[in-house]
Amino acid sequence: MTVAVTLRVEEKLYQNRYLVDSGRPHIKVRPHARPSANLLGLTRVCPAQCYELNDQGQVEITADGCMECGTCRVLCEASGEIEWNYPRGGFGILFKFG
């Protein structure tokens, strides 16, 4: 099931145009031993599936496919679990239609 979903969202993101600011991720996850419920929730709620659980049970982010929607910020910035910024001007998602 998870595999099927992963494939589907990657197919979706593949349609999009991005200018990735290599080496300067605009979102960071604070190092943690065990993720909170909200942070864990991001592995399913992020519409680009940027958040994933690693083998140690910690949540990691790869922000390349991020659409800058701000959902993870609304759920997890206040607690300090993530640090969220806009990409530098011109970088990130570039909607062709929107």
């Binding site: 399913r44 680009a48 959902t71 609304v74 910024n85 806009y86 990409p87 001007g89 239609f97 929107g98």
Partner: protein, 437 residues
């Protein structure tokens, strides 16, 4: 940047609906305006359904129909209540909407925002894209006097800064001008652009000559969350999407793309998009908090407009028109203060709020002030139980199987009471009516 030394009458942060309306209005009145947009081009960060309401744009650019990239003018609206296999609908279609100056159009935001931005430049404003504003600059008395960006160079100064930065409102929240949106007062919407030949779209929806049709739907498609599905026809594409409250996504841990894929696969939607080519997948937040979520709108040297000010009418799916109107009104207030040589202080900028209060923007939001809380606390009933009951009732009514009609009606009533209790039904109806009043 060689303009750093220059001082501007106004700096606008953001080239979306509200920022463009503000920049255009101020520049047209002769103010020296500098506008920043973090995207590669205006619209590259923006997402909308999108229905655009002509009246509010006409107040800014009366002859917009001459060259604006408009997709279709709407002649039909379908409101659907869906369960897993059916939809119960109210459709309204009228030849009256085929008028010389139609009232509602579908648009594609990336194209529309580029057009609007050309108008802003033509009116005399300076527009700098690919530039993220990173900080508001304040003087010793805490008045906002300018901004810093991620471009090389120092601060850039202006008499007033218009924050038109959209729903996330990073700058304003970090500067302490307002709180970050709460999970229960924003929805996450995901949508796809499905391309089909123009004539196929017209055949499927019974349209001709630029006519358009939109569908908005609630029901089991949001899986118990407070949410809405939508399908809008453009010239050669269909925008299809679904949005639900972020708090509900967080609590239920559902994946937005799984919801979208289920919607695409619903028997009522599938034939409408069959054979289409998907060219984009987008996600964006929508302010849903209504009147009670409106933050402080002005201060010393600043005003906030559009989605950043949470000015969005979730009940009627209106946002861009409130954004354009608040941007225009803020600009008009600033022009008035400027004309009488007043400083851009909190005391003077209250004029923006006074003018906005008199407009439909605040009046409409006030009308529905209790709706967000009601739908939020009762989402399972409104978005799952009632849609299922409605489908059962309709099917009971239509299926001819030899059961006496009186027994069918009794069965329908009993199903309702069983699902939600007599008191629950009455109190939901009363609360809904009160919130609508």
């Amino acid at each position: 940047m060689d303009m750093i030394a220059e001082k501007f009458d106004a700096i606008v942060i953001g080239a979306g609906m509200s920022g463009n309306a503000a920049a255009y209005t101020m520049a047209s009145h002769g103010l020296k305006v500098l506008q920043f947009e973090r995207g590669e081009y205006p619209g590259s960060k923006n997402v909308q359904g999108a229905i655009m309401y002509a009246n509010m744009l006409e107040k800014i650019i009366p002859d917009f129909r001459d060259d604006a990239p408009l997709e279709r003018h709407l002649v039909e609206q379908r409101l659907w209540v869906m369960d897993d296999t059916s939809h119960t609908g109210m459709h309204y279609r009228s030849e009256d909407f085929n008028e010389a100056k139609p009232n509602r159009y579908t648009i594609i935001r990336a194209q529309f925002d580029k057009w609007f931005s050309r108008k802003v430049r033509a009116a005399g404003a300076t527009v700098l894209c690919e530039t993220t504003v990173t900080e508001l600059v304040r003087d010793a008395k805490d008045k906002v006097v300018g901004v810093r960006t991620d471009r090389a160079g120092g601060a850039i100064f202006a008499d007033v800064v218009i924050l038109a930065e959209g729903v996330s409102g990073l700058l304003g929240t970090r500067a302490g001008l307002r709180e970050m949106p709460k999970p229960q007062s924003v929805a996450l919407a995901v949508k796809e652009m499905h391309f089909l030949p123009e004539d196929v779209i017209e055949q499927r929806f019974g349209l001709k000559g630029g006519e358009g049709c939109v569908i908005e739907a609630v029901g089991t498609i949001s899986r118990g969350m407070a949410g809405l599905g939508f399908l809008y026809t453009n010239k050669e594409s269909i925008s299809l999407g679904i949005g639900c409250l972020v708090s509900d996504f967080g609590a239920t841990m559902q994946s937005p793309y799984a919801l979208l894929d289920a919607l695409k696969d619903h028997p009522s939607i599938r034939p409408l998009i069959a054979g289409s080519e998907v060219k984009e997948y987008a996600a964006h937040l929508i302010p849903e908090g209504g009147y009670k979520a409106i933050p402080q709108l002005f201060g010393d040297g600043w005003v906030v407009v559009g989605d950043a000010a949470q000015l969005n009418n979730a009940v009627h799916r209106e946002g861009s028109n409130l954004a354009m109107t608040s941007g225009r009104i803020a600009a008009e207030a600033i022009v008035q203060v400027k004309r009488r040589n007043g400083p851009m202080t909190k005391q003077n900028l209250v004029l923006y709020k006074t003018m906005l209060n008199k407009s439909f923007v605040v009046k409409d939001l006030k009308k529905y002030k209790d709706m967000p809380a009601l739908l939020h606390t009762n989402s399972r009933n409104f978005f799952t139980t009632y849609p299922q009951l409605m489908s059962q009732a309709a099917q009971n009514f239509m299926r001819v199987d030899g059961t006496p009609k009186i027994e069918k009606e009794k069965a329908t009533a009993a199903a309702m009471i069983k699902a939600r209790s007599r008191w629950g039904l009455v109190s939901d109806a009363v609360r809904l009516a009160l919130a609508w009043r």
